[in-house]
């Protein structure tokens, strides 16, 4: 059947059709929907793991047991899972194991622009790279076959434009695959004596995979009208090339991005006058060509930063660049903002007001960094708030203890915040950690996590008790506040910063966008009382604006949280009591 599918949905369909029966992932844009879609198939067990490392190890265990398995993550998630990745390369698999990694060139929703293709080469694991949804489905199925044929996990590399583009796919039926588990210590116990014997197996496998790549059906040679130029490309870059040049020049499209063929590329290079490599981010294909003694035109022309597009390809191939007319006006930016009613807002306001140094983390609450709150000092990666604060306070010999905090969400705390907290307790820095518990993984679009009490399929699950966990790792001072209550927040922050031992404040209030969260009536403005002081504007609520010098509330956005009411010294903003 022909249907329109998101690239991520097509990977999920490929998992289903390939007989995959175990999926463990951690959400991360742009990879999240793969696991959400696959969870809809009853034949597939699917879960959210606390982090990518756990997910990959669980997927390895399932493959070892004889079930085709999968884990999915964004590019930076693969850093977290890199430890098992490099060693599962040595052990190989029993039933097939596939890992999807989604890059984010252009950083639509990420903290860096790393190129995951390097992981394939350094971990010596083959990587397939689809260029649309139809290929996402087909390559996912092929990845399982290759995994079993070559006894290796296989990476499927997505990117924002493939993951979040819908295109036409043809669906097929599911096959069932189940292998027997047999104990095999020399293959699966990676201690030095065994690992030394596995490394040569990996190198031989790479040779065999390179041989496979020479004639693989997913490495496609498309003929062109003129051999003046020849283009090697893959993924979205292939689509931009074809969009602009059609069949003007021959194109060698790599569906398998590692290992790359040698002879096929040399033959292609010899068949054209000028060799051009079109690829996003790093010069990965280009470096391979250079290792073969070729000197293609590549990164020097196209650069290593951001996404490519058809206009960039037009420019580099000396074609006219199109552009519409500009309007004669200064168009203000529209950056993402914390939603109206967001429970994080009151807490960040309190931190900014008290001029506290805030080491932040990854999630919706990173938006506490933008104006007018400007409440965050540093953000690096998942979990780095807590561990970073520990180092910050230790380096200051206690001088910053009373005026600095770490801020981290519930899901991020489960992911990799806990270990940082253990470090604070164990190595005794007098640090204060604030866990923003909004009862969901917010940024990636509402995924369940170990603190929410529900699993990926929506069924009730063990709910991790944050207070008990913090106490168990050695934090004696643990308290819970309601971030809608500014006084309570301020009192708690001041007391915990003043205390002479480490502490945790749990700021608890569910995300205002959750369906079960009941909103209050929108606040009303008593214009006569409004003195235009703009205090209410300091919290950056999209529901509040000033018109003709008076505060105005947008009724369609206001959730009646009442944080602004607490800021107004003149009683101009009022909550409406529910009848």
């Amino acid at each position: 059947m022909k249907t329109l599918m998101l690239g991520n949905e097509a990977v999920a369909r490929g998992l289903y059709e390939a007989g995959c029966s175990f999926v463990s992932s951690y959400p991360g844009t742009p990879s999240t929907e793969i696991t959400e879609y696959v969870a809809k198939y009853n034949e597939v067990y699917a879960e959210w793991a606390p982090n990518e490392k756990v997910a990959m190890e669980a997927a390895f265990g399932a493959a070892l047991a004889g079930s085709r398995s999968f884990c999915g993550m964004k590019h930076v998630g693969l850093n977290v899972a890199a430890d098992p990745l490099f060693t599962i390369s040595y052990t190989g698999v029993n039933a097939g194991m596939v890992i999807a990694v989604a890059d984010d060139a252009g950083m639509h929703s990420s903290q860096n622009e790393q190129d995951s293709r390097h992981y394939a080469m350094s971990s010596k694991i083959p990587m397939l790279e689809p260029s649309d949804s139809a290929e996402a489905l087909e390559f996912t199925k092929l990845a399982f076959d290759l995994s079993e044929q070559f006894d290796t996990p296989v990476l499927v590399k997505m990117c924002t434009r493939i993951a979040h583009s819908q295109s036409v796919v043809t669906t097929g039926d599911r096959v069932e695959v189940k292998k027997d588990y047999q104990k095999n210590p020399s293959k699966y116990i990676m201690m030095p004596g065994n690992a030394k014997l596995r490394h040569p197996v990996v190198e031989e496998r790479t040779k065999a995979l390179t041989e496979y790549a020479e004639t693989a059906a997913i490495n496609v040679l498309e003929a062109g009208q003129s051999n003046e130029k020849g283009i090697i490309t893959s993924s979205t870059s292939y689509q931009y090339v074809k969009e602009v040049l059609g069949d003007k020049y021959p194109v060698y499209k790599l569906g398998m991005i590692w290992p790359m063929p040698k002879k096929a590329i040399l033959d292609f290079a010899n068949s054209v006058d000028e060799l051009i490599v079109v690829e996003e981010l790093d010069g990965f294909i280009e470096a391979h060509c250079q290792s073969l003694g070729l000197s293609p035109k590549g990164k020097e022309a196209f650069g290593m930063i951001g996404e490519l597009s058809q206009n960039i390809v037009r420019e580099k191939f000396d074609k006219d660049i199109l552009c519409g007319t500009k309007v004669d006006a200064v168009i203000p930016n529209r950056p993402p903002v914390m939603c109206a009613g967001c429970p994080h807002r009151g807490l960040f306001y309190t931190l900014a007001k008290n001029k506290i140094t805030v080491i932040g983390d990854i999630g919706c609450y990173t938006l506490g960094a933008v104006p007018p709150l400007n409440a965050i000092d540093a953000v690096v990666c998942m979990g780095a708030s807590i561990s970073g604060l520990h180092g910050f306070n230790k380096a200051n010999n206690g001088e910053s203890d009373g005026k600095s905090v770490a801020v981290i969400g519930d899901s991020t705390f489960m992911h990799s915040g806990m270990t940082g907290l253990i470090n604070i307790a164990y190595n005794s820095s007098n640090s204060t950690v604030i866990i923003l518990d909004n009862s969901i993984t917010g940024m990636t679009g509402h995924q369940q996590n170990p603190t929410t009490g529900y699993n990926l399929k929506g069924d009730p699950a063990t709910k991790i008790n944050l207070e008990a966990l913090c106490k168990a790792v050695g934090i004696n001072r643990v308290r819970v506040v309601d971030p809608y209550d500014l006084n309570e927040c301020e009192t708690a922050i001041k007391e915990e910063l003043a205390a002479d031992e480490p502490s945790v404040i749990i700021s608890r209030r569910p995300c205002a966008l959750l369906k079960y969260v009941k909103h209050n009536k929108p606040l009303i403005v008593d214009s006569d009382k409004c003195k235009s002081c703009k205090m209410c504007m300091r919290i950056g609520c999209p529901a509040i604006s000033m018109k003709n010098g008076k505060a105005v509330i947008d009724n369609t956005l206001c959730t009646g949280c009442g944080v602004c009411e607490q800021l107004c010294k003149f009683g101009a903003l009022k909550k409406v009591e529910e009848e």
Binding site: S167, Y240, S309, L322, G324, P332, P335, M338, M443, G540
Partner: protein, 191 residues
Amino acid sequence: MQTKNVMIVGVGGQGSLLASKLLGKLLLTKGYDIKVSEVHGMSQRGGSVVTYVRFGDKVYSPIIDKGEADFIVSFELLEAARWTEFLKPGGRIIANTQQINPMPVITGAAEYPEALDEKMKAAGINLTAVDALSLAEQAGSSKAVNIVLMGILSKYFDFSEDEWYQAIESSVPPKFLELNKKAFALGRGVN
């Protein structure tokens, strides 16, 4: 057929994804090759959002670049003005005249430009500017702005009214069907 390009732009949370879903379903039944691209994540939090819909005999690129859009359907006036460079010469912008202040305007760091519809016309842009929010409310819900705008767009396509209604039927829950059909008809009736 040469590839046609429709951009759907607006503010995160306005419902532009349903509009692209509807369009995608309709185009699939007509046998076109289609690509619909959206960006999730950070851009959803009240930021600028853009969806690209491309269809034709064979569609390669998932995105629409500057100077390529046949139509830009905008859910908000400032967003229409933001993307004019993406319009093809002779293309058309269909804009909801609703204004939603972005954060720099709310905080007073920037101003919402005056008379953007006049300025777009002055720049030689074919503009259909409609108060789609009022029409949606007239149909029964402010959330139906997306379907009102699809109704306006539908006049520029050769598909029958029935084909559009079938696509609406397969895209919205049954209990909202009548409301959305009404919203579509109000949009299609705009001159």
